[in-house]
Amino acid sequence: MTTITRPEGDAQPPATSVKALDRQMERSVIGESNLKRSLRRLRKHRMAVVGAVILVLIILYVLIGSLIFPESSSNFLDTSKRLMAPDAAHPFGTDQVGRDIFIRTIYGGQISLFIAVTAVAVQLAIGVTAGLLAGYFGGLVDTIIMRFAEAMLSIPQIFLALIAVRIFANAIPDFKIGGREFSNTLVVMIIVLGATSWMRLSRIVRSVVLSVKEQEYITAARSLGLPPRRILLRHVLPNCVAPIIVSATLGVASAILLEAYLSFLGLGVRPPTATWGSIISEAKEFLAQGNWWYWFFPAVFIVLTVLGINFLGDGLRDAFDPKSLK
């Protein structure tokens, strides 16, 4: 029977189920000098390039679109023109109250992408910090953080999200950025999505930390009396890049979808602000009536975004982890 040969100096993983899952995500040490090599590999990765191009095009679409059409036109309604098929005036047709779906996908896309990216940032911030602290300090810190993560993991995310929506909804005021007004539900969504999805990432990061902690250069750094913060940021963190990238790319996709589910349950971003997810959940009532354009265009954007991100994520993972290439 063959056994897994593990990287030199890897500590024997403690026996918790976390380890087992995480080992799969663990990557060999990548020094900073490897970064350039990784990027070069990424450029050669065909699917990754395709993914990146798709993403860039979508970002350009939502940004340039909003320069051409003012925000008010996204919410302007005319019920006498409701549910009209695509034509020259409304290239993507109109929705149930006669709003232009083309412009709504532009502004909805901004919100969807903004929510997804910032929610993932929150997830990364919490997950990486918790994982680093738990793994590096061990002992009581580790127990508390990991028990807490376990407690949160044992509750379905959608339920956590539903409760969190209720709790934060009245606590945060609306805000303005650059003259545009944003509803507080946007922030609520970001916090909710971020704060309910960091647990798996923190476990992965912790396991990576555990495995590099005992390596010679870390021990050396510690014996030199370097402060823990510096060791964590300079030496430990770079080793977590691969699992972080994988989590982040998957996270963006699942954040867009979770937002759609919350919209479906009537708890998404407050109307009339659109998101791709909320347009689709509105459109479901008209599925049987043959108003295909209502759901088709936002759906295409979600699929393209998720595909693009995942292709890019695959490429990044392969680039940082040459072992997975044959």
Partner: protein
Amino acid sequence: MIKYITRRILQSIPLLFLITFVLFALMNGIGDPLAVYGEARNKPNPQQRMEIMRRLGLDQPIYVQYVYWLIGNDWAQVDVRGDGTLMELGRRKGVLRGDFGMSFRTRQPATQRISERLPNTLILMIPSYVLTVLLALAIGVYSAVRQYSFFDNLVSGMSFFFYSMPIFFIALMCIYIFGVQFQRWGLQPLPIGGMYDPGKTRNFANLLPHLVMPVFCLVAIQLAGYVRFIRSSMLEVLGQDYIRTARSKGMREQRVVRRHALKNAALPLITLIGLDIPFLLAGAVVTEQIFSWPGMGALFIESLTYSDFPVLMVILLLLSIAVVFFQLLTDIVYTWFDPRIRFN
């Protein structure tokens, strides 16, 4: 080994208490169980509403409600009218004495409402989970072995397509195509919603057509995640030195894959399954709602809509216990697969 298991179980008890308290506190923030009367045609009058609240203990502070939930209130006086004129003893025994509370909605024991739904959910979730894992294994291994081939790209693309579609959307599409349009085209339509055709013998032949659409939808949206997971596990293993050694010794590719790679790639999969199985008990919230499947997910949403805390608490408690149990089980299975891991 036994010592380890005992320790893990003992460790999880305070965790469960913590979870229940946090859930209980949060639960009070999600809504008002009596709000159901808001749009009702026969509203109870305010005094009646207050009396119902007091009898259900909803006027008490959260920590008192938690204590009642835990150890019951058959030792405490309930001031029904709120003016000290009508006092009666509480009738609850508390979770620690096996009384999981009464559903606000139907005034049945909460445990009974759950036991009605749990088997239905398993009938839906187990086949779809088994199918997902098996299909994912087949596809994941194949596309790892043929990385970046046409098949690999096609399957990745397809699975991502389903992965990125909200399930309610896929589900409604299925209903309109296979339920409504099939009938119009003169094909045999699939039944829309429910588990059995009403009025017919409830056997497997009656059940199967009802299973097709929800299982398809669940498999469709879950598949991508597993395929991805298995594919990358396989890719990692295939890149290992010992695989290269095996190949260079002239071992046939199929044998390499099956004998060495698959076995090692299965380890993380087992862990993932161990993490996922407890959530099969929770059912599929959106799928069950759309396909009118009388399972736990539908019960969950219904209880949430009516803020039926006692039922929600039992569902979540059940999940927490299942999570703890299956983690333990996974660890044990894992040592069995990978002898290098020891309990210490």
